[in-house]
């Protein structure tokens, strides 16, 4: 098996709603996959299932034996009641040699703040610290859950540049959930568009050529989904959280071509 991590036909039903319906996704070596989709599309749930935090109602998640995953959460709410410095936070539950720590600190540009308490750090610094923690074990796969959501635009750009650099320099696969597709377009290799089921997936270069697509993406995910609807034979009703339609066909490439033309 060459896949590092794969979800096989997973479905999640909760409180009578369909959160995920028959989603399959696999991450191989050197993959860089970004999951996009509107709020409530089930992106976080998919990630939770893939990380093993949540057991899907149907289907299963396969993980290559001995796979090391570095997880970067959406944000760390640095609580001032917990006195902890960056250096100690990085080594909680981890045994890292000093030079390994310094190497990762240099990679993520946090050398200057190693001795600061985490509750005084800025949002961008905190995300870099979380990234550094994820990199300390030298992971095979980085999983990032909307890692730049709480940063300003400059911060987002810088953070994604850093991810790109790490992807280029390390032997690591990346699975990321992101709202900011216009910012990750240049680095990600594959985009998976999720709305309870996988609507489409493919190389971003195929879609980036369409300026309308990009402008829609930045502003309103819901409108993006509407763009898709034109080339579909099924409807996404955004007011209903759970479309329970039958969906046995593959239409990925069809989309891309229509958007290209």
């Amino acid at each position: 098996m060459t896949d590092l991590l794969s979800a096989n036909h997973i479905s999640v039903y909760r409180d009578g709603k369909t959160i995920l319906e028959d989603v399959s996704l696999s991450i191989g070596k050197q993959d860089f996959i970004t999951i996009i989709g509107p709020n409530g599309a089930g992106k976080s749930m998919l990630l939770k299932c893939m990380m093993g935090f949540y057991a899907p109602s149907r289907g299963d998640v396969a993980r290559r034996e001995g796979l090391k995953i570095g997880y970067v959460p959406q944000r760390l709410v640095a609580d001032h009641t917990v006195p902890i410095r960056v250096r100690r936070f990085l080594t909680l539950r981890k045994r890292a040699a000093k030079d390994a720590l310094m190497k990762v600190a240099a990679e993520t540009a946090i050398e200057e703040i190693l001795d600061q308490p985490i509750h005084v750090l800025s949002g961008g610094e905190l995300q870099r610290v979380l990234l550094a923690r994820a990199l300390l074990d030298d992971p095979d796969l980085l999983v990032l859950d909307e890692p730049a959501q709480n940063l300003d635009v400059t911060g987002q750009l810088a953070f994604y540049k850093l991810i790109e650099k790490i992807y280029a320099e390390r032997d690591v696969s990346i699975l990321m959930v992101s709202h900011d597709l216009h910012l990750v377009m240049s680095s990600t290799r594959e985009v998976v568009c999720l709305y309870h089921h996988i609507c489409c997936h493919g190389e971003p270069s195929m879609v980036t050529r369409d300026p309308e697509f990009i402008s829609l993406f930045g502003n309103d995910m819901a409108r993006l989904m509407a763009v898709y609807n034109h080339s579909h034979d099924h409807d996404h009703n955004l007011d209903e959280a759970a479309p329970l339609h039958d969906h046995g066909h593959s239409h990925d490439h069809e989309h891309m071509e229509k958007l290209d033309g």
Partner: protein, 265 residues
Amino acid sequence: MVDDFILRALAAGIGVALIAGPLGCFVVWRRMAYFGDSLAHSALLGIALGLLYGININLGTVIVCAAFALLLVWLQQRRVLATDTLLGILAHAALSIGMVALSFLNNVSFDLYSYLFGDILTVRISDLYWIYGGGLMVIGLLILNWSSLTLMTLHEDLARAEGVNTVWANILLMLLMTIVVAVSIRIVGILLITSMLIIPAATARQLVTSPESMAIWAAVFGLIAVIAGISGSVEFDTPSGPSIVTAAAIMFALFSTFAVVRRRA
């Protein structure tokens, strides 16, 4: 010449302070103060059952408090009501049932006041076994799970991603608090147990920059409060629990003032 009962009380109080301080850090970090209070209230039911059925009161308290904690976890999973509502219901129900049960007891020597506020005269040698036995267990489990619990406190999903069983870790914290509540009743009393967990930890927070030093300083401050409080209690014939907590509160006030002054300077 110091009386035996004072030595027993001091030994008991020191044991309580040494475990309550480090565990209290998690109570402060994870905002479990109300949980601690509720747990302590439910201890009265344990005492009542202990007296009614003639089982050891410490054991009765551990059983009732552990049942209380597990019932709470189960109710929380159902996600219908908020945790503080559930705690309010469970705590007051247990307290009331405990009081009703105690009223059936025709024991003239029963002194409710001493259970509510602690009484050093009631400390027996067997209580010391409970405190130090339970205490060693609490400290051992805390040290073993320290990094995991701290990471979970900072970020639950991050801990889970790195292999911490967070459900189990949460239950562990609750059970450790159960033990602390059970062994602290003699010294500080049901109503004041939470303060032994939070005041020394809150005092320590103002001086430290690492979670480990906060735990150590919390134990130290607890220790000073216990020694000062019990000495005062003997000297002025005041109830031990309130005397200890008064000492702890004075220390907290001093260090808070000190911290404010230092920041201004």
